[in-house]
Amino acid sequence: MSISLAILGAFFIVAISLGILARRGHDMNLEQWTVGGRGFGSIFVFLLMAGEIYTTFTFLGGSGWAYGKGAPAFYILCYGAIAYSLSYFLLPVVWRYAQPRRLVSQADFFIAKYQSPALGVVVAVVGVAALVPYLVLQLKGLGIIVSESSYGSITSSTAVWAGTAALVVYVVISGVRGSAWTAALKDVMILAVVVSIGVYLPFHYYGGYGPMFRAIEQAHPGFLSLSGAGMSPTWFMSTVILTALGFYMWPQYFASVYTARNEDVFRKNAVMLPLYQLVILFVFFAGFAALLVVPGLKGADADLSMLRVSKHTFGEGTVGMIGAAGLLTALVPGSMILVSACAIVAQNIYRPMSASATDRTVAIVARGLVPVVAVIAALMALHGGQAIVTLLLMGYNVVTQLFPALLLSLGTRPRVSAAAAIAGIVAGEATVGVVTAMGLSIATLLPSAPQFVKDLNVGLVALIVNLIVLSVVALLTARTARVRAEVPAAASAS
C-alpha cells in the first residue's frame, strides 16, 4: 500500500511543480493565460489536442466499454480519425481568421464572424453548460483512480479535493501553459503504462491476442461484432458522425487552435494524431483481458475493469504507476476545461456586461473564477448523483449543435444571419434537453420505423431540428446579417 501511495504522491507533486514552472519567463496577461501567447509549436499543440484522446473517459470508459459492451467500444477509435482528417481543412481556416483578430475564446470567433455579441453569449452559455459536467466527470474519474490504486488508503473524496486544489493552483498561475507542460508528462506515462498492460495482460493470461479474442467469442458469442438491433451498425455509424462533427466544437479544443504559432501545425497534427490515438487499442486490450479474468463487474462498475485486473495481476509498484497515469489523465483535460470555462465567462459574459472592462480586469476575473468553478465541480462530483451522468451524455450532443453555424460562417462572410444561427442553436439545444430529460430514443419517437432507423443516435434529431429552424429563420431574414465589409487588414482570411 505504501509503495503505490508514494508513487501517486510523487507524481502529484511533479505534476503541480511542472504546472507552476510552466509560467517561467511569461507575463500572464489574458492572451498568455488563455492561448499561450499564440506561440506554441507542433509539439505543444499536438499534446493539447491529444488531450482529448486520453481523458479519464477513455482511460476508464474505454476499457469499461470493451469489458461491458464489446464491439460498440470501437466507435471511440473511429470518430477521432474522421475528426482529424476534417481538421486538416477546418483548423487552418479558423486559425487564419482568429490570429490577426487576437481572439481568445470559441465564442469570440462566432461574435467576430457574425458581428453579433448576442450569438457570442449563446455560444458561451452552450460552452459552459457542456464544460462543467465534463470537468465533474474528470474529477469523479480521478477519485475512482486514486482510491482504487491506493488500495483505499486515500478515499475518493480526499482525492477529489486534492486534485481540485492542484488544478486551481497551477491553472491560476500558468493557465494553458500549465496544461501543455503537464500534458507532456501525462503522454509519456500513458504511452508507457497503457502499452505495457495492453501487451502484457493478453499474453500473460491467454498467450496472445488471437487466443484472447477467440476465448472471448467462445464465452460470449457475438460480443466482438455489432448486434442486429440496439447498438447496431446504424447506431455505430450515426454516433461516429455526430461525435466527429462535435469533436472540435468543444470550447477547450477550439481555443487550443489559437495557441498555434502557424497553421502548418494543424496539417502535421492531422497526419500524426490518427496513429497516435491507436494507443486506445491497448486500452481496449486491457478491458478485454479483464473480461474473463475478473468477471462480474456490472453496469458502471465495468469502468473499474482496468484497475481491477491490474491489481489482480501486478504488485503495488506497478499499480501505483497505473494510478499515477490515471491521475494525470484527469488533471490535464481538467485544467484545459477550467481555463476554457473561466475564460468564456470572463470574456464573453462578464466583458459585454461591464462597460469598464479592460483586458486586465477580464484576466483578473477569469483567474478569480477558477477556484469558484473548480469547487462547484468538486461538490457536484462528490454529491451529484445520476443526473451528472445524464448531463454528460448530453455533452457531445450539446456542442455538436454549434457545428452548422460554424460551417456556414467559414466563407468570407456568413451565409446566414446571426438570428438564424442563434435560432438554430437554441432549437437544437432545446431538443437535446427534452430528448435527454425524457430519455427519448428514435425507437420511442417512431415506434413503427424499421429497426435500422430506430437505432440511429437520437442526437441526429436535434441536429436536424437545428438545421430546419436555422434554414427557416435564414429565409425569413433573407437580408443577411449586417456584416460590415471586411477591413482590408483582414485580407488574410479571404
Binding site: 464491439a71 479474442f213 458522425i241
Partner: protein, 76 residues
C-alpha cells in the same frame, strides 16, 4: 505576426480525405463480422485499425502534395 497567406485553393487530390469517412462509417456494415481474424484481431476491429492507419497515410500524402505545390505555409 502572421504574414498574409493566400487562400489555399481546393485541389482534386483533397478529395482523398473523404476516404477515411467512407471506410470508418459506410464500410462498417460490411466489415461487421468476427471471422476471419487478422493479426489476432476480430475482423471488425482489424478493419477499423487498418483504416485509422490508412487515415494517417492519406493525410500524409495530401500534406506532401500540398507542400510540393507550396500551398502550405512553411514553418519558420
Amino acid at each position: 505576426m502572421a504574414s498574409v497567406i493566400p487562400k489555399k485553393p481546393m485541389r482534386r487530390y483533397h478529395l482523398l480525405a473523404v476516404l477515411p469517412a467512407l471506410g470508418l462509417v459506410a464500410g462498417i456494415p460490411f466489415a461487421n463480422r468476427v471471422d476471419p481474424y487478422v493479426l489476432g484481431l476480430p475482423f471488425l476491429l482489424f478493419w477499423i485499425v487498418a483504416w485509422v492507419v490508412a487515415t494517417s497515410a492519406i493525410m500524409g500524402t495530401i500534406w506532401l502534395l500540398d507542400r510540393r505545390r507550396g500551398a502550405t505555409e512553411r514553418a519558420p
